[in-house]
Amino acid sequence: MENTFTQAFVEAFRMLAHLDADVLEIVGLSLEVSLTAVALAAIVGMPAGAALALHRFPGRQPVVVLVSALMGLPPVLLGLVVYLMLSRSGPLGVLGLLYTPTAMIIAQGMLVLPIIIALSQRAIAGMWDEYAELMRSLNVRGWRLIGTMLYEARFALMTVWLAAFGRAIAEVGAVMIVGGNINHATRVMTTAIALETSRGNLTLAVALGVVLLLLALMVNVGVYLVARLSGDDKAVTA
């Protein structure tokens, strides 16, 4: 067993050192899909989260609870729902999106959307006591209030993005179903690991897992550095 792990680390560093073309392609697609999914979900989810934190409207509480519950949505269930939508026999079948990276972005985007909404809401609600008076005195309200608070909360929101990114890049159930794990088309890190495991190539599978971890580490370090260069690392490290 120990041997497998040692070999796996050696293999992982060999992959990285040689910039193995197949591995690079898989890493690239993983990043492309998960980053795009998180970015799109953030565009929709952050204002929605801020609105839930800042505005009182009828039905707000049930929405908050529902969004919170959806954070636990099993990726494989979401994948199945997206598959049924995008399948040629499904309502969006004419778009021909099944088994494309776009389908994977849609699935992962929907997967992380509740996380971004719920965590943004909490981040902004936590800051609101501090800002409420100032905003009222400046008469900032509506969309401007949401925009201002999102800006003020930007460092806390980085943590939200990282949480969402972590969920997206680590997920296998949804991308397997809607992407199909097609070589040179829709194969990402997690589905490649699943495939190599099923081929009995356990060392290679663990090596890919090491690469995936390094990837996640790099993204986190990147965000941390951005926060630090901006002169505020409390939000990220806290």
């Binding site: 399948s87 040629r88 026999s89 499904g90 969006l92 079948g93 778009l95 021909g96 999106l97 099944l98 088994y99 494309t100 990276p101 776009t102 389908a103 972005i105 849609i106 199909g180 794990n181 097609i182 070589n183 088309a185 829709t186 495939l195 495991t197 099923s198 081929r199 009995g200 190539n201 356990l202």
Partner: protein, 301 residues
């Protein structure tokens, strides 16, 4: 909001179209992928025909269901009864035999059920049930799972009553099931191709092989373009012709791992008894998917 949503959809549709190019989707089984056969064959076809073949590897049952929904152009599977039902339902318009190999029963070396060398697969399963030796079933409606259930029926045993005790339904692909059997010290039924290619066999070894009931025929099917107009019929036919033609057949025969041939080409029948006159005893009378290739079948080992 609605406009935004529609714009987003249009953007995605454009993205989808941009990456498409000339390609077909092949719904296939985990055995053809896990054995490495498709990785060996497809680049050669792609180079020659300029058509990308995108493989979705799932169990035979799921492959046929996906294809019935229109999510694929070609199907390459191995469960004769399911394939024929698929054709009867009008989901496919053309079916051809492609190749065969055989199934084997693998158990831990110490042979806990005492079945090593048994020539009758059903009798072997009966002994596994009697000794309550752990057996991992695919349990995923795949071609291999179908074959296994047929063997249990032949043995007169209904193992599903014992599910969760000695009979374990994995619900996974062939390779993952072999991993489980190796880890648990259990027996399982596997196609020989995946077995030869599998790198994590643990203590497992072949204990039963050679029963004609273990014959494993693969067929290729064109998804009905009339029912699913987006099916790329021309490219799909080109692939089927190549796979069942001289070059594809020669390459299938040439795929070897560890000095062993994994699949044996036997195209030439369209499943209705047709024959193209080549020296091919297998395809000719292959209606039940059992007897025809027996002569060659005995030569696998």
């Amino acid at each position: 909001m609605r406009v935004f949503f529609l714009a987003l959809l249009a953007f995605f549709a454009w993205l989808g179209a941009a990456v498409a190019g000339e390609s077909i989707i092949l719904q296939s089984t985990t055995s053809t992928q896990n054995s490495g056969l498709l990785d060996w064959l497809l680049p050669k076809f792609e180079k020659k025909a300029g058509i990308r073949v995108k493989v979705v590897a799932v169990g035979t049952g799921q492959a046929l269901k996906n294809a019935a929904r229109g999510d694929g152009d070609v199907v390459l599977v191995h469960a004769r009864a399911l394939e024929e039902a698929f054709m009867r339902a009008g989901h496919g318009v053309l079916r051809r035999d492609v190749m065969y190999n055989d199934f084997v029963i693998v158990c831990p070396k110490e042979d806990p059920a005492g079945i090593r060398g048994t020539k009758d697969a059903a009798l072997a399963l009966k002994k596994i049930a009697r000794t309550k030796t752990r057996f991992v079933s695919r349990g995923d409606d795949s071609g291999t799972h179908r074959k296994e259930l047929a063997l249990w029926r032949a043995a007169g045993v209904d193992p599903r009553g014992e599910s969760g005790t000695w009979y374990l339904e994995a619900g996974r692909g062939m390779g993952a099931t072999l991993n489980m059997a190796a880890a648990l010290g259990a027996c399982t039924l596997t196609d020989r191709g995946t077995w030869i290619a599998h790198n994590n066999r643990g203590d497992l070894t072949i204990v039963v092989e050679g029963d004609p009931k273990l014959f494993n025929q693969y067929g290729v099917i064109l998804v009905n373009p009339k029912r699913h107009p987006h099916v790329k019929e021309k490219a799909a036919r080109a692939f089927i012709d190549w796979l069942t033609g001289p070059e594809g057949q020669r390459l299938i025969a040439g795929y070897r791992l560890n000095g062993q041939q994994l699949f044996f080409p036997n195209a030439g029948g369209d499943g209705k008894g047709a024959h193209d006159g080549r020296d091919d005893p297998a395809g000719a009378a292959d209606h039940q998917g059992q007897q025809p290739a027996e002569r060659e079948f005995r030569g696998i080992r």
